[in-house]
């Protein structure tokens, strides 16, 4: 609610309202939104007066803006009172309101039951999933076509964009993925050590950490990090390029946006993700080995020499494959959502959120499916 603003502005003549003996309401001074904001009591006075009388004298009104004209016109029920005295300026303002074409009937007031509303939301959600799946397939097809084109015309390979994306998504992610991996390694090693000590099975810490981190935790951890870091950045970048019509400008210059913008990002992430997985697994194993040394008195040298025997090499291949798969998933989802941003800020923020959430969700779903299909390898 608006408070009084005493210092605010110098009103030449404040709005005033008075009742005369014979039931005529007299308005004088400036009746504008600005003057009413400074004397909010006048609105209540006006409303009260309108309930009591039908005789008005506005001959001393020096100024009236359309906001007040609308208010008065509503109070009068959409016509001039019979014996009203109105100053020319006020009359001009009121006549503009009178000349307004009638409002159209109130648009689509939806009166639906809770069941219908729920059904509608489920429908919209399902259609959204279907639309996004179609879009992803479409983008995948375009990427395949672009890749085919590049095979035939290697000169147009966008090396610069490719290396820029490797730097941004890969090199710049090294410190944070190492830190997170290291800390997670310490945590898991410490918790497992407490359990294993109870059973006297200290040696198995190498198996637990090796298989758990290389096969499962490393790829998923890096995928979540990269989805938040690079996936959101890709969606936002492509989305802004859509909003500012840069994508259209590329197309107008005969440059395919899929080839120049999307493909380098997808290729870079597919290349970089397995490397990041290895990097962050190394950090996690180092953290785990240090924690095992502290907790179980297992030397770090022993930890790493026992690792190859405890963990079959298949686990490493599975981890690397997951890296490639997750990298592709994250980048394609990010680019898809970016390309479908509508040109407004609201859509940009929704799409970026949707991009990160769907990327992480799909990564975990894919990981679960892979866990089922690879259950016979490396354990």
């Amino acid at each position: 609610m608006n408070e009084m603003t005493p210092h605010a502005t110098d009103i030449p003549s404040a709005p005033a309202l008075s009742h005369t003996q014979d039931g005529v309401v007299t308005l004088s001074g400036e009746w504008t939104l600005a003057s009413l904001l400074q004397k909010p009591a006048m609105r209540a006075a006006l409303l009260a007066a309108a309930r009591r009388t039908k005789h008005w004298d506005l001959s001393a009104v020096t100024r009236m803006d359309s906001a007040l004209a609308i208010l008065l016109w509503r109070l009068w029920g959409g016509c001039f009172p019979e014996d009203a005295k109105i100053s020319p300026r006020a009359r001009a303002a009121l006549e503009r309101i009178a000349a307004l074409p009638a409002a159209e009937s109130a648009p689509n007031v939806r009166g639906e039951s809770a069941l219908a509303g729920g059904l509608r939301r489920v429908g919209i959600f399902t259609l959204g999933i279907a639309r996004n799946t179609l879009g992803l397939v479409d983008l995948l097809g375009r990427l395949a076509l672009s890749a085919g084109f590049l095979c035939r015309h290697p000169k147009s390979i966008p090396w610069k964009e490719f290396s820029a994306n490797i730097f941004r998504a890969g090199v710049e992610a090294l410190p944070v993925s190492a830190l997170v991996g290291f800390l997670i390694g310490i945590t898991i090693s410490y918790l497992s050590a407490l359990q294993l000590k109870a059973f006297g099975a200290d040696i198995f810490i190498v198996n637990i950490l090796g298989v758990g981190i290389i096969r499962e935790l490393g790829p998923v951890l890096v995928a979540v990090l990269v989805a938040g870091r690079s996936g959101s950045a890709m969606t936002a970048q492509i989305g802004v390029m859509r909003v500012t019509e840069e994508i259209d400008a590329l197309a107008a210059m005969g440059v395919s946006a899929t080839l120049r913008v999307v493909l380098p990002k997808v290729a870079a992430l597919v290349l970089v993700m397995p490397l990041l997985v290895v990097w962050s697994c190394m950090a996690a194993l180092l953290g785990g080995a240090l924690a095992a040394w502290k907790e179980l008195d297992l030397s770090v040298v022993y930890f790493f020499s026992a690792l190859p025997d405890a963990v079959p090499i298949a686990n490493l291949w599975i981890g690397l494959c997951k890296g490639v798969l997750f990298g592709g998933l994250i980048s394609i989802i990010a680019c898809h959502f970016g390309l479908h941003v509508r040109p407004n800020t609201e859509s940009l923020s929704r799409r970026t959120t949707a991009s990160v959430v769907s990327a992480i969700t799909l990564v975990i779903i894919a990981d679960a499916i892979l866990a089922v299909f690879t259950r016979d390898f490396g354990v």
């Binding site: 502005t9 509503r74 407004n344 800020t345």
Partner: protein, 255 residues
């Protein structure tokens, strides 16, 4: 009423502005009185838009004072600052409509900010403003991205006029419009200026806009206001910058 007030609507004194080492304005004075329509013209880089941004308070000048309606823009009082801003309307060059809001909510935005009007009152006011700028009621539900360039300008004008400000600032009002639409828009601004007795300051390059608005012209050059007056008087002023600006072959015909 307001015409008798001695306080100028805009009062800028001793303005210095600079971007890094480049001095844009040097000890510039600029006053606008109630009801005046003043066009700022000058070559690119002469600081027209900078001056407009300083009037709005978006950019503090390096040195000098800016007073609007007699109040200093640097006053640290947030309520006073807000109340000054409510008395002016600004039409940005690209419209600066809120892209996430439909046309109706864009125009209603400053009205809702007041927290004083009920929704029916706001709806009626928005309808009136839309009629004022010659928009169809059906346009109310469109999003800014679905509007043509001319419509964006008119919606932005309706939003700038929502609170019926005393001062209207226009940055290149006809840029990006074709000549016919540009002329229509100028006529619209002219009609609204007379009807609402607005004070208008605009930045423009366009000769047709200058003629159509029948305004005073202030020429910015040499880091100051070189001269100020009616079109013919300004044209007669002997200075290379003015010859360059007005005597282009394409505008050889005299207004």
């Amino acid at each position: 009423m307001r015409a008798t007030l001695p306080v100028p609507v805009i009062d800028m004194r001793g303005i210095w502005s600079r971007y890094r080492e480049i001095v844009i304005h040097k000890d510039l004075d600029f006053q606008v009185r109630t009801g005046e329509v003043v066009a700022l013209v000058g070559g690119s880089g002469s600081g027209k838009t900078t001056l407009l941004r300083e009037i709005l308070g978006l950019l503090p000048p390096h040195r000098g004072s800016v007073r609007l309606f007699g109040h200093d823009l640097r006053a640290p009082d947030a309520l006073l600052q807000r109340d000054i801003r409510r008395r002016l309307g600004m039409l940005f060059q690209q419209g600066a409509l809120f892209s996430a809001l439909p046309v109706f909510d864009n125009i209603a935005f400053p009205l809702r900010e007041l927290g004083f009007l009920d929704e029916a009152w706001i709806a009626e006011l928005v309808r009136l403003k839309m009629t004022m700028v010659e928009l169809e009621p059906a346009h109310a539900r469109l999003m800014p991205s679905e509007l043509s360039g001319g419509m964006i300008k008119r919606v932005a004008l309706a939003r700038a006029l929502a609170l019926e400000p005393e001062l209207l600032l226009l940055d290149e009002p006809t840029a990006g419009l074709d000549p016919a639409r540009g002329q229509g828009f100028v006529r619209l601004i002219r009609a609204l200026q007379q009807r609402l007795s607005l004070t208008v300051v605009l930045v423009t390059h366009d000769m047709d806009t200058l003629r159509g608005l029948d305004c005073e012209i202030a020429v910015l050059a040499e880091q100051r206001i070189l001269t100020r007056g009616r079109l013919d008087a300004v044209r007669a002023f002997p200075h290379p910058a003015i010859e360059q600006f007005f005597n282009l072959p394409s505008v050889a015909g005299k207004g």
